[in-house]
Amino acid sequence: MKKIEAIIKPIKLDMVKDALNAIGIRGMTVSDVHGFGRQKGHVEIYHGAELDIAFLPKIKIEIAVSDIMADKVISTIREKAKTGNIGDGKIFVAKLDEAIRIRTSERGETAI
């Protein structure tokens, strides 16, 4: 099993979600997050003074998937979240040791 964590532009969330639904992903966790990458945020002007936007708003999607689904999920996110501009985000993939459905105590891939 794999845990896929994608940091994407907020505007892309709906497209990514619909595309993942279409390939059979049945659950995900989404959070509002803030952060910066290589650009280190940017500067706006408010009331004539510089306003450092050090942490930009992003969406974090977390999905647990079986090993065979992982590549498909990654390519779907990559395709749907891409604008080609700075700040498109990142995808992190990690090995997942265990998954447990609390209601039924199922374990492993059947619990995903």
Binding site: H34, E44, I45, Y46, H47, G48, A49, E50, L51, D52, I53, A54, F55, L56
Partner: protein
């Protein structure tokens, strides 16, 4: 109804409009400050009115009127003139509430309470008596032949400069908010938490300003009433347009926060000259005020390095001074016969009346020096007895729960990371 009753009703109606300006200030100042201090900023805006009325009742009113009427007793309580107290105290309260914007987000409530009594009982009444109470500034014409003496129709200097300069003194003594200046001394922005509320506050002030400027209009027959309200409108909109264009040109976007500041700057400026100038004069007064207000905001923040969260020093202090001078420039000689017992119409520099310009400049200088010196010393001394500034922890947490025992938005988590 006879004319005197009409005058009473008009004066009081305008006074009630000016009372409503307190709501405008409360919304504007609170909107332009952070959510964690919203309760505290609201508390100051409410209590400045309450405490101010009391202080003015004790001795401020009497000082302004040359020593009669302490506690509104004696002749001052006569049924035919007691309403003058109400029509005057609302102007006082506008002056008092201005510094709460410049000193917001870091001021202890204890020292704030002492401040309100001090300025309501002594400082405001003294300067007001010099200009409006027949004092020495108003008599510069009679005694030294300098035009009609210092003229200030509705309070560019008496009300707004007193408030703005006091705010400057207070903000200097308090120091900037944590995080306002980077290590290298350049300012950063600390955005307000509720811009829509601030803009509604600006609109409430615009509305109330018609009472502010037109209130005194029936004292001399009411013929200038139309001129006053139209000039007030024109100067306000001209200033907003000027501020919009200026910021747009400088930074590529019309910054809403500076447009609201600019609009108020125009209204502040026209307060002194609304009865004296032509519509063109009002427009020019407003245009200059709008640009002046923005450049002053930048100057105060970048050069003086004084942290004024809402721009009160620029809007009320600088544009107040400009308003006084605009009267000395643009008074067109159609009004003012007999003011301060000087015969003849009031003429500004551009209409052949250079001396009136001199009088206005004297008024501005005296106001700035007197108010800045007295209030700076007062805040310095007060700071030794009742500390002016909250602790670092309180400032970081927000003043709401710590200073006034409320949390303005308990159902929302208020972010502590700046972004």
């Amino acid at each position: 109804m006879n004319d005197s009753i009409i005058a009473v009703i008009w004066t009081l109606t305008c006074a009630f409009l000016v009372i409503f300006m307190q709501a405008g200030f409360a919304m504007m100042e609170t909107g332009f400050t952070r959510a964690k201090n919203a309760g505290h900023t609201m508390a100051m805006n409410m209590m400045v009115f309450v405490l101010g009325v009391l202080g003015y009742w004790i001795c401020g009113y009497a000082l302004q009127r040359g020593g009669e009427g302490f506690f509104l007793s004696g002749a001052a309580s006569d049924a035919s003139i007691i309403m003058i107290f109400l029509s005057q105290v609302v102007y006082l309260n506008i002056a008092l509430t201005i510094p709460t914007g410049a000193m917001a987000e870091r001021w202890t409530f204890k020292s704030f309470v002492v401040y309100v009594f001090f300025i309501a009982m002594f400082v405001y009444p003294l300067y007001a008596s010099w200009v409006w109470g027949g004092g020495w500034l108003s008599q510069l014409g009679g005694n030294f032949g300098i035009g009609h003496g210092v003229l200030d129709y509705a309070g560019s200097s008496v009300v707004h400069m007193v408030g703005g300069v006091t705010g400057l003194a207070g903000a200097i003594v308090l120091g900037p908010r944590m995080g306002k200046y980077r290590a290298n001394g350049t300012p950063t922005a600390i955005p307000g938490h509720h811009i829509p509320m601030a803009v509604v506050g600006c609109m409430v002030l615009f509305f109330g300003w018609f009472g502010f400027n037109a209130g005194p209009a029936l004292a001399d027959g009411g013929l200038r009433l139309g001129v006053i309200v139209v000039n007030t409108m024109l100067a306000g909109v001209a200033a907003a347009v000027a501020a919009m264009c200026y910021v747009w040109f400088m930074y590529g976007k019309p910054d809403l926060s500076l447009i609201t500041n600019g609009l108020l700057g125009g209204l502040v400026a026209i307060s002194a000259s609304c009865a004296f100038v032509s519509p063109v004069g009002a427009i020019v007064t407003g245009l200059v005020a709008g640009v002046l207000c923005c450049t002053s905001v930048f100057f105060v923040e970048r050069k003086l390095k004084v942290d004024d969260p809402v721009g009160a020093v620029s809007v009320h202090g600088v544009c107040g001074a400009w308003g006084m001078i605009s009267l000395g420039l643009f008074a067109d000689g159609t009004y003012g016969d007999g003011l301060n017992n000087i015969a003849g119409m009031v003429k500004g520099l551009f209409y052949g009346g250079g001396l009136q310009f001199v009088a206005q400049v004297i008024g501005v200088i005296v106001n700035f020096v007197f108010v800045l010196a007295v209030m700076y010393l007062f805040f310095k001394v007060l700071d030794r007895i009742v500390p002016l500034r909250v602790s670092e922890e309180v400032e970081f947490e927000g003043l709401d729960q710590n200073e006034v025992s409320v949390t303005a938005y308990p159902d929302f988590s208020i972010t502590k990371t700046r972004r």
